[in-house]
């Protein structure tokens, strides 16, 4: 394993099953996976989530623009999901794929620790930059949604 580029951790008062569902169920994903710039529509992640399958990060516009693609490397509900992550035009080049791992660990007392590890981003400064802005927002939105049943309103002033 290479040294991860980013490691994000959030503690959520929920169950591992609900966190898993939030990752793979588009009806849930659309409620919290806002674009980092906030003024774009939400995104959903579409796949059958079986090991070896493709997945697509689709924008919820009319065209369902595909902004990111990759493969499902490991899928162990409700504990661990590993996917690769690439721009659609670079989907065929494995060396351009970075790697995202979601670890879902029950902490007891109704808490779940969700760790998102993003590896192999260093060679892509542009992706590195947008990823570092995106994950904290996505994860704190996810936490709010699972704990309160509603996502955070989009900021009207976000650039």
């Amino acid at each position: 394993m290479t040294k991860p580029s980013f490691v994000y951790v959030t503690y959520i008062a929920t169950t591992p099953e609900k966190v898993w569902q939030a990752l793979v169920d588009t009806d849930v994903t659309r409620k919290y996976w806002a674009d980092p710039t906030s003024d774009s529509p939400a995104h959903v992640n579409v796949s059958d989530w079986k090991t070896g399958s493709q997945w697509e990060h689709q924008r919820l516009d009319d065209a369902r623009t595909v902004d990111m693609v990759g493969k499902v490397v490991e899928s162990t509900p409700p504990h661990r999901l590993v996917i690769t992550w690439a721009r659609p035009k670079e989907a065929g080049e494995n060396s351009k794929h970075s790697r995202v791992t979601f670890d879902i660990e029950p902490q007891g007392d109704g808490l779940v620790r969700l760790t998102v590890t993003h590896e192999d981003l260093e060679r892509d400064p542009q992706m590195f930059e947008s990823i570092s802005k995106g994950w904290p927002k996505v994860l704190s939105n996810l936490k709010t949604l699972l704990e309160t049943g509603r996502a955070l309103p989009h900021s009207p002033l976000a650039a």
């Binding site: 394993m1 040294k3 991860p4 580029s5 980013f6 490691v7 994000y8 951790v9 959030t10 503690y11 959520i12 008062a13 902490q107 007891g108 007392d109 109704g110 808490l111 760790t115 590890t117 994950w135 904290p136 927002k137 994860l139 704190s140 936490k143 709010t144 704990e147 309160t148 955070l152 900021s155 002033l157």
Partner: protein, 131 residues
């Protein structure tokens, strides 16, 4: 009810903070209140995933003191740990900072803060860092 170490933010109104087990938001603010700990976060922002030894090179204090500061940052969930073989790597975890931003900054009318900043900028000149 047993109070778990990471109560949900919404519970903070109901549960009084005890010094022994600070609520999560208190721990984040407390961790941020110390300049050395903020410096450690800056170092990790500059280069993520550093070892204790690497961080100590930039800190004017004992290794033991740095360890304690990192411990507090870890307890506040501002630093996440990844073990790579026998190496303990420290990562900046900005998720609690984002939650503070949503809860304590965005909420209090960002537009007015923006207007104030613009006013301050026009009165003081363009240099954003000048205070």
């Amino acid at each position: 009810m047993v109070q778990h170490p990471w109560p949900a933010a919404r519970d903070s109104r109901k549960e009084p903070a005890s010094p022994a087990r600070l609520l999560v938001i208190d721990r984040v603010f407390k961790a941020l209140a110390d300049p050395s700990r903020r410096h450690l976060l800056d170092l990790l922002h500059r280069e993520n995933g550093q070892t204790l030894t690497a961080l100590c090179e930039h800190m004017d204090m004992t290794r033991q003191a740095v360890t304690q500061h990192l411990q507090q940052l870890e307890e506040a969930n501002l630093v996440a740990i990844v073990w790579q073989g026998r190496e303990k790597l420290h990562y900046l975890n900005p998720v609690p900072l984002h939650e503070i931003h949503e809860r304590w900054i965005e909420k209090f009318e960002r537009s007015r803060l923006f207007a104030l900043r613009e006013l301050k900028k026009s009165l003081e000149g363009d240099d954003d860092d000048k205070t």
